[in-house]
Amino acid sequence: MLQLGYNATLVAIGATLLGVSAGVTGTFLFLRKRALVSDAISHATLPGVCLGFMVLVALGGDGRNLIGLLAGSAISAWVGLLCMNWLTRHTRLAEDAAIGAVLSVFFGFGIVLLTVIQTMGVGRQAGLEGFLLGSTAGMLRADALIIAIGGAATLLLVMIIRRPMTMVAFDPEYAAARGLPVHRIDLAMMGLVMAVTVVGLKIVGLILIVALLIIPPVTARFWSERSDRVVLLAGLAGGLAGYLGAALSASAPNLPTGPIIVLVSFGFFALSLFLAPVRGVLAAVLRHLRFQRRVHIRQGLLALAQGQKIYEPLTLRLLRRAGLARADGVATETGKARAAKALRDEKRWEIVRADQAHEATAALYDGLRDIETVLTQDQIVEIDRQIGGPQEVPA
């Protein structure tokens, strides 16, 4: 994979940078729970690309000038963003409806402009469709340079305003109380997303850039609970996906860069979804099964101790398997001892929870925790003294 050709190397560098900046920027969007705003922004670039092309041609220039097209796309994405913001702030529409309205209407209008261009009689339409899905085939050195510089600049900006963005994403009300201009920071965040989108148009196209903004942050979130690490991991996941995707797509014909990058990115996501140590599905399933077992056994023991009938078949099965009860629901010797201990603990907890002195400890009660794990032996002895003998149990 190291022997990439000249063009492929350009693409790979561009894709890596794009992946990093999309992952990092997208994280703030994701933490703000506004991931799909990127969908509206990216679709809203289309009319701008077309208008940019028309203006360039009207001025007698080359309609394919990348800077001109990107400038047009940035302007229309910004207009779309403002429309979306206005709709959510000044009407009763929820954000999802505003996103959907902006993306479909701007995209629809873009299609109208595309058909206008088709009939403008300027020969072929300069592969503007390439902006839909990205096309790296004819990428020039200048194009790659623009993408690289754009990606790096976005990354730098993100690093500069990452603190206020994290704060706004985490708790907008607190941020506002601290005097941060939440609305303007939100707009800045969207502006960065827009920048990434515009930069990525050429490589992955406007539909798939959304994937690069969403999938790496979601992937990274599985691996850390700290926002700064999530940002770094998302950048890493995005950059890696960008590089691997670009390299893979160069290795064989008919492998378009954009989709391959997205699929590699999704591969990372799927692995994380299942295998991440704490938030992963496998870990969660195991944890849940263990937890359910504990709840049932504990409940079963308490029922045994109080001579109550056990209604749940699962409880009975678990007790039997643990050797605590016989098939007919009668406790074994071990079961009796464990049941007595469970009930005694329950009694101790009751004292702890009624006692203001133990307030912090009492908050830990969840019906399952062994009392030895939160109290010292001396404290337990003291509580047992309060409980006293069997006859003095308060009614």
Binding site: A211, P259, L273
Partner: protein, 309 residues
């Protein structure tokens, strides 16, 4: 314009566009109220991999396998979104974004890998359809509406979308009450025995059916726009659900008709020679309607709702 020109060239595309718009707007009302508006967006993206897979399996461009493929892909997408959301504890928007972009990427990749040069199957067509080409060449005038021979030559998209509209309307009529209750107050709906999970899934499936049928005729741009814009605009006009539905149908019809007419004749009026994309124009018109209601609609703000502090 005379019937001789209008019936063969404009009547069928107008009807197809209108039916598609209504079929999407009807379930769209509930999707918007349930804050699931973007399900339409997700579905219209995954239609592409659906039809590509159907093409790979059958080796031919024929309508029914492709529609089945698209519908199947929608179901897969909805299930995957739900699975990612629950299993990964990820907010719905991000879960949607992960799933539909991935499936779309897979669709593009499959398309590139397959030799489809001999058949007409491309991304652009999937995006904005070809409403203008759905003409009725056998018609000679209004009288053709009663001529069985001419009727047999109707573009097959018309009966398909009409049937879809019928199915969607039936579903809405039949499940109107539980849909309304469970959208308003899901907890209460469950206490009176409404199976809210199944109902929510059924709504999404109905939306998917509407999306696939409309997509077949007019492309996915109209689908997203019609799911969201007419219902959102209608919401700004009234505070009653029944009235909202009516408004949304009206807006859908107005968008479809005005969009089609403007796309076909607007450029001529402006002195240009060729028509522009009807699908794109219909979406644009629905956006203009939404903008008008957002500025002037009588119920456009959340005024009067007390804070629940």
């Amino acid at each position: 314009m005379s019937g001789e020109e209008f019936v063969p060239l404009s009547l069928t595309p107008l009807l197809i566009g209108t039916f598609a718009a209504i079929a999407c707007a009807l379930p769209g009302n509930f999707l918007v109220l349930r804050k699931q508006a973007l399900i339409g967006d997700a579905i219209s993206h995954v239609v592409l991999p659906g039809i590509v897979v159907a093409f790979l399996l059958t080796g031919a461009i024929s309508t029914w396998p492709m529609m089945l493929g698209a519908a199947g892909a929608s179901v897969v997408a909805v299930v995957m979104i739900e699975a990612v959301r629950r299993l990964g504890q990820i907010e719905p928007g991000a879960a949607m974004g992960v799933v539909f972009t991935t499936m779309f990427a897979a669709g593009v990749l499959l398309l590139e890998q397959t030799d489809t040069s001999t058949v007409h199957l491309d991304v652009e067509h999937a995006l904005y359809g070809n409403l203008e080409s759905l003409i009725w060449l056998d018609a000679t005038g209004w009288s053709s509406l009663f001529d069985p021979e001419a009727l047999a030559g109707l573009p097959p998209e018309l009966p398909r979308i009409a049937l879809t509209l019928l199915v969607v309307s039936l579903f809405m009529w039949l499940f109107w009450r539980p849909l309304k209750i469970s959208t308003f107050d899901e907890g209460f709906a469950r206490t009176i025995g409404v199976r809210t999970g199944a109902l929510g899934f059924a709504l999404v499936i109905i939306a998917a059916i509407a999306a696939v049928a409309a997509f077949d005729a007019v492309g996915s741009i109209i689908v997203i726009a019609m799911f969201i814009c007419p219902p959102a605009a209608a919401r700004m006009m009234t505070n009653r659900l029944e009235t909202q539905i009516t408004w949304s149908v009206v807006f859908a019809i107005v968008s479809a008709v005005s969009g089609y007419v403007l796309a076909g004749y607007g450029p001529l009026w402006l002195g240009a020679a060729d028509a522009v994309s009807a699908a794109g124009m219909i979406a644009t018109m629905s956006g203009l309607i939404l903008a008008c209601t957002a500025i002037w609609g009588p119920c456009r703000t959340r005024a009067g709702a007390p804070s629940t502090a």
